[in-house]
């Protein structure tokens, strides 16, 4: 069952189509990485999912139902955390817990703050918090009410490496230990790559690709790249002599063999056949490059 689903979701601001007919589904237990350039429509789509922005057309469904009334099962951190600057961390989470109407709110708020590493007893106003503390409190606010799903928009923005790691570990812990489904956008592809199970790529308001973590792994795996003076003969030879090796032909006429890093068997086949080898290199494709190519429209470019 999709926890979050959008159907032909569209939002226009005047003549600008910020989100254009996006249909995606985030399934139970997913960490769904949402990738796109600045202004691609990520935040607008997430705001529509959370009920902060009204769609021009299309539909949002949460837990297989239209979002009506309210849904404490979704926790949200969109862009900057919505904190009350003059209130303490505890007062912030208490204010939200009262909105939800939680019973035993004080105890649960204390637990939530402890879970993100903040001191429930601190009287420090949040306007004096460091960026990392604000992000943690933002996550705590999202976690009030023990939601089944989190919508996180750029949660790593502005964090130092230690804070980034702590945030990533917290998200993964919530996903693994509590089964929280996560819909997360980030420019930090490297962080998404370490935790996402599925990805959606958005460009100019349109969903240009949906890939799994396995797809990314495969596309970005080490591969052997070979270019000779006779492409057809080389392809036939390699398919015949090395039947277990997967291969594809690139746009520049090179044969790419994903997952193969040992060049010796290939070199032997080509030498025995007397083929002239122009290029034989082991290459690793950068994950960022891969996603950039997806943003530009190629599904498996």
């Amino acid at each position: 069952m999709p926890v979050i689903e959008t159907r032909q979701l569209t939002k226009t601001f005047g003549r600008i189509r910020a989100v254009d007919g996006v249909s995606l589904a985030v399934n139970q237990g997913d960490i769904y990485g949402f990738v796109g350039k600045n202004g691609a429509g990520k935040s607008t789509l997430m705001k529509m999912v959370c009920g902060l922005v009204t769609p021009t057309a299309g539909e949002v469904r949460l837990f297989d139902c239209p979002p009506c009334g309210g849904n404490p099962r979704i926790g949200v951190l969109i862009e900057e955390a919505g904190l009350l600057p003059n209130a303490s961390a505890m007062e912030n989470v208490m204010a939200k817990s009262l909105v939800i109407g939680l019973s035993d709110a004080k105890k649960r708020c204390e637990d939530t703050l402890a879970a993100v590493g903040l001191d429930p007893a601190s009287r420090l106003a949040t306007k004096r918090f460091s960026l990392g503390m604000r992000r943690r409190l933002g996550i705590a606010l999202a976690l009030v009410g023990s939601p089944d799903a989190l919508v996180l928009d750029e949660p790593f923005n502005g964090l130092d490496p230690e804070g980034t790691r702590a945030m990533r570990q917290l998200i993964m812990h919530l996903n693994e230990a509590s089964g929280v489904t996560v819909f997360i956008s980030s420019h930090v592809i490297d962080q998404l790559d370490r935790m996402a199970t599925r990805y959606g790529v958005i460009a100019e308001g349109r969903l240009t690709a949906e890939v799994t973590a396995e797809d990314v792994q495969e596309a970005c795996a080490d591969s052997l790249r070979v270019r000779t003076d006779d492409l057809a003969r080389t392809t036939a030879l390699l398919q015949d002599r090395l039947p277990d090796v997967r291969m594809r032909v690139g746009a520049d006429g090179a044969i790419v063999m994903p997952g193969l890093t040992d060049s010796a068997p290939v070199a032997t086949v080509l030498r025995d056949a007397g083929l002239l080898v122009y290029e034989m290199t082991v290459q690793r494709r950068d994950v960022e490059d891969y996603f950039v190519s997806l943003m530009e429209g190629g599904r498996h470019a």
Partner: protein
């Protein structure tokens, strides 16, 4: 909606704005009572006599080196008129509550806390209805506080009242002040929601909630609107006019009043009608325009 109300009350009680506003009301009441007391003292009479150039022992003062007699007695006209002079007629109460309620309305959006609200409570009807209810509650609390603070402050300084009003009349006047104040606060909330700007809200409070703009419109209408039916009756429908009417008439709220557009409804009736019109207008804009704005 009750949960939203609980959350807002929690935030207000744990914040500073509410207490600063309440402190201002108390300080203004005490300052007014203190000043009123000062002009009843022999020292004040002495100072006045000295300032108008009369020698000691002349005029109101007692000769022979004794302290001068007070120029004024520690007696006010009536209770509602006193509250009015201290906090209502000047627009101090309306501007204070308008700014407070407007800031509460604006804070959710300026701090983005509204994210936490709209995610779990998607009904914008509930959200805006609760905020209007909260504004009305704030207005009620501050009007009652104004009554209590003025009563306590003037009692503290030993004042009595020339006319002791029946409790019903005081209650009716208080309700009317609450209606007018609530109308001002709702309009401030609308300005906050539409503009999402603290500057616009403050400007509105200074120009409108102080009754300054209303007084200007009233002046222009009476000066240049002679013979133009719409401009002649327009001032009657201004909230600032309600404040003026309540200021000048502490007594006889239900009696026929020839100064009004509809004399037979009395001050109470007219103030209720005008306030209700503005309340309905503010609610309509809230639920039609503000509710549809994206967070």
């Amino acid at each position: 909606m009750l949960n939203l109300l609980k959350s807002d009350v929690y935030r207000l009680v744990h914040g500073k704005m509410l207490w600063i506003g309440a402190a201002i009301v108390v300080v203004v009441a005490l300052a007014a009572a203190g000043m009123a007391w000062w002009i009843t003292t022999p020292q004040f009479a002495d100072m006045v006599n000295a300032s108008i150039g009369q020698p000691d022992g002349a005029g109101m003062t007692v000769s022979g080196g004794e302290p001068p007699a007070p120029l004024n007695q520690a007696v006010m006209d009536n209770f509602t008129h006193t509250v009015d002079q201290v906090l209502v007629g000047s627009g101090a109460l309306t501007v204070l509550v308008s700014v407070l309620a407007g800031r509460v309305a604006l804070d959710d959006f300026s701090t983005r806390f509204v994210q936490s609200v709209f995610t779990v409570r998607r009904s914008r009807w509930d959200y805006y209805a609760e905020k209007l209810l909260l504004a009305a509650m704030l207005a009620a609390a501050f009007v009652l506080l104004a009554d209590a603070a003025v009563a306590a402050a003037f009692a503290l300084f030993g004042f009595s009242y020339d006319v002791v009003q029946p409790i019903g009349e005081i209650a009716l006047w208080t309700v009317l002040v609450w209606l007018v104040t609530t109308a001002f606060t709702w309009l401030s909330c609308v300005v906050a929601w539409l503009s999402r700007s603290k500057g616009a809200l403050d400007a509105w409070a200074v120009l409108v909630s102080t009754t300054f703009l209303g007084s200007m419109v009233q002046f222009l209408c009476t000066t240049f609107g002679v013979g133009v039916p719409l401009l002649e009756i327009l001032p009657n429908f201004l909230l600032s006019n309600c404040v003026v009417v309540l200021s000048t008439q502490g007594l006889g709220l239900v009696d026929s009043c020839p100064l009004l557009l509809a004399p037979d409804v009395g001050i109470a009736g007219w103030v209720s009608i005008v306030s209700a019109l503005w309340l309905v207008a503010a609610a309509a804009v809230t639920f039609v325009a503000c509710r549809r704005k994206d967070a």
